[in-house]
Amino acid sequence: MSAVLTVAEVSRSFGGVRALHNVSLAVEQGAVHCLVGENGSGKSTLTKIIAGVLSADAGTVAMAGHEPRSGVNPGLAIREGISVIYQDLALFPNLTVAENIAPCERTASLTPHWRWRSSAKRAAAAALEELGSAISPTTVVERLPTAERQLVAIARAMTRRPRMILMDEPTAALTHQEIDRLLALVRRLRDEHSMSFMFISHKLNEVLELADSVTVLRNGVVASEGPAADYTIERLSNDMTGRTISSARPTKAPTGREPRLTVTGLCVKGAVEDISFEAAEGEVIGIGGLLGSGRTELALSLCGLLKSSEGSVEIDGVALRPGHFQDAIKRGIAYVPEDRLTEGLFLDRSIRDNAAAAVASEHTSRLGALNRSALHATAEHWLGQLHVKTPDYNDAVNTLSGGNQQRVVLSKWLARRPRLLILNGPTVGVDVGSRHDIHETIRHLAKDGTTVIIASDDLPELLAVAHRVLVLSSGQLRHDILTGDLTVQALWEAISADSALS
């Protein structure tokens, strides 16, 4: 086997901050190379240098059979056979599948412009068929679910006949089944077409399952590298963080406490049917289930973001107004949304303002005057509690890494000292270290008496923090399992068991 891509001693700094230092790696022909590292470890910078979007200060990137390069030239990288699928996919949501796939095809051929539409449709259909997908080329992309959009992005990349596809966190927004399908596709393309892949992911089990070889980045340098067979999850996370991350378990479940949350016969039309459960003070309850099981809908209806059609949600014995989020907030419920970029953060505002966003009312005089210094003090207190790492709280929150951003979102809510904290996928796209710290925070809150509900796709996460897991399927509560000695395998079986029937 020979290397299709060789990265040789690449370094890159941004205004004195060293993002990459002497990074070398090689991707073999017909192999999957996984690049892992915490947020801010330099993965994205390296990706961009390989894609020719960013220049290297020193060192070179070379595709087999081409001159080594170090400058900015995305077109050249594409011609050399590198296709990059960015995390946000870079599709045009308002155009059809065919129109998204075809521009590349068009640049590669000399089809007359007036026959473009029909030839685009044919090219797109052929590209999708090659991937074994039945998406209609005339569908508008924004109507497709994330997993199918990803296929469109891959199909688009494939029309360029690349030698290597670089995928930046392709599985972050996918469910288990979709991930399995994506991984199978990658394997097929690798084995049948001898294509090479560079795969960036936070999900370490995925990395081990898929990779032929691994490079671990930490603070811009290669922390370790080698064949995937040499790695375990523990070794990966230790190499990434430079510290030993133990797989923690929740603290002991509280006993004899008053119920904080009582849910009785809760129904949401078309999503959740007749769900009843109680959660005590200091209890952490996980909600598990596949996409479409009603997991997200249950979490949303608990805090009034989704209107329940029947049943009641009571906090400390008083019923909430269904479908009234602001009422739920006033009653001490906090909801940390899944998509932190669009629902959790004010990207251009300072870190401090972000953490203060939900508590302005607590620092306002009767005349409406805002006590800024008190507000800032509160915000900074919670940012400190969550160890948000930054030189200056005045910096815009978008300068932070994903893990730190998620800590800011949590600070915002913890500043309200909620009685019931509802989390939806709290560590999606967050690095191992931050994930560990966020879990630690949740355990800590529970110990101090906060009730926590956590809806997550991430089974190890549920086992790490929840005392009980409610397993949903087809909108119904199928199991209510104590996590005590539960294994990921057993939980996965409980979650996926019923889905075959439905």
Binding site: L305, I329, D339, T342, L347, R349, A360, T364, A369
Partner: protein, 351 residues
């Protein structure tokens, strides 16, 4: 401290505007020493700037919550018509009757402004129609109301009210003082209250604001009502200055007011800028406009180049200020392009 101030884009923008203003006044004072740096000229400039400034404040407020109000001039004209009609009808020989007429006229005009703003607010917030479309629609609607009421004719006011237009306090024009006072008050309200803090967050990301428990709709609605009332004040000032109101007065002021707002550091995407920035922008434009007028009339006998030069100024200032915020806007576009996940999580911002 200076580094912090410079790093903050708004402050650097203010420095840019202040620098430009001083530069303009210096250049024109040298070119036209006899007419430009005179008290009379400055009074006349402040007077002219006031109407645009008041209208621009409305744009500023709505832009902070990432909206816009294009109906400002129509609202102002109708307010002027209402006030003129009311005052003329109620005016009497006694000074007390005149005072009552003025008070009632002003109150009704302001109430009209609030109602017009409430209509805009309701349509934008409640019916969730794009602010540009809503206020273009109400612009036409309000113009129609004004035309129907006056048949397009000029309505005259009462003499006693002209104090608001050409009165002076301590040598300064009353409309200008009104503009400065309102700009300062609004800036304080935005900077020092919970309302202001949350309004900027709403402009930055309405969805995240809503998820943070902020009453997004109330913040947005309030801005439209305020914009309507500011427009009414502008209408009253025009009535005071010309002692007349007319439905097609100052049509070009709408775009000018938008430009003033953007020149003043407002971001059409929301969440940035302050009324004081717009005040500075008005001053910069007026100083330039008057100066060019004097220079061109003195040397070429026409002011043909005025709009030309004005356009260049706008482009230059915008280019300079946009440079420092390019990354931010790119990021916003990225976010906007990201389509929401097609599941029930996609709860509407303002429901």
């Amino acid at each position: 401290m200076i580094r912090n101030a410079l790093r903050d884009r708004v402050d650097s923008h203010v420095i840019l505007l202040v620098g430009l203003l001083i530069f303009e006044i210096g250049v024109f004072s040298i070119l036209e020493p006899a007419t430009y740096p005179t008290r009379a000229n400055f009074t006349s400039m402040t007077l002219q700037a006031s109407e645009i400034g008041l209208l621009a404040l409305g744009i500023v407020l709505t832009m902070i919550v990432s909206g816009i109000d294009l109906s400002i001039v129509a609202t102002a004209n109708v307010a002027g018509i209402i006030a003129a009609t009311t005052m003329t009808a109620m005016d009497g020989p006694s000074s007390s009757a005149t005072a009552t007429a003025i008070i009632v006229g002003v109150v009704i005009a302001l109430a009209w402004g609030a109602a017009a703003g409430a209509l805009n607010g309701t349509l934008v917030v409640g019916a969730r129609v794009s602010p540009i479309l809503v206020t273009l629609g109400t612009l036409t609607l309000f113009t129609g109301i004004g035309t129907a009421a006056t048949e397009g004719k000029v309505v005259f006011g009462i003499d006693a009210f002209t104090w608001l237009g050409d009165g002076k306090i301590a040598g300064l024009a009353v409309p200008f003082l009104l503009l400065v006072a309102l700009a300062v008050l609004l800036s304080l309200r935005l900077a020092r209250t919970r309302f202001g803090f949350e309004a900027y967050l709403v402009g930055e990301n309405a969805r995240a604001a809503w998820f943070s428990g902020i009453s997004v709709r109330r913040r947005q609605f309030a801005m439209y009502v305020a914009s309507g009332m500011l427009s009414a004040v502008a209408g009253l000032v025009v009535l005071g200055r010309t002692n007349a109101a007319q439905v097609d007065f100052g049509q070009s002021f709408v775009l000018l007011a938008v430009l003033v707002a953007v020149l003043g550091g407002l971001d059409p995407y929301g969440g940035r800028g302050s009324p004081l920035g717009a005040l500075l922008a008005v001053a910069v434009l007026q100083a330039m406009s008057t100066g060019l007028n004097q220079v061109l009339v003195a040397h070429t006998g026409s002011n043909f180049f005025k709009n030309f030069a004005w356009g260049i100024l706008l482009i230059v200032v915008l280019a300079i200020s946009q440079r420092s915020r390019t990354p931010r806007n790119n990021r916003k576009h990225e976010l906007r392009d990201k389509t929401p996940e097609p599941d029930s999580h996609n709860t509407d911002t303002s429901r």
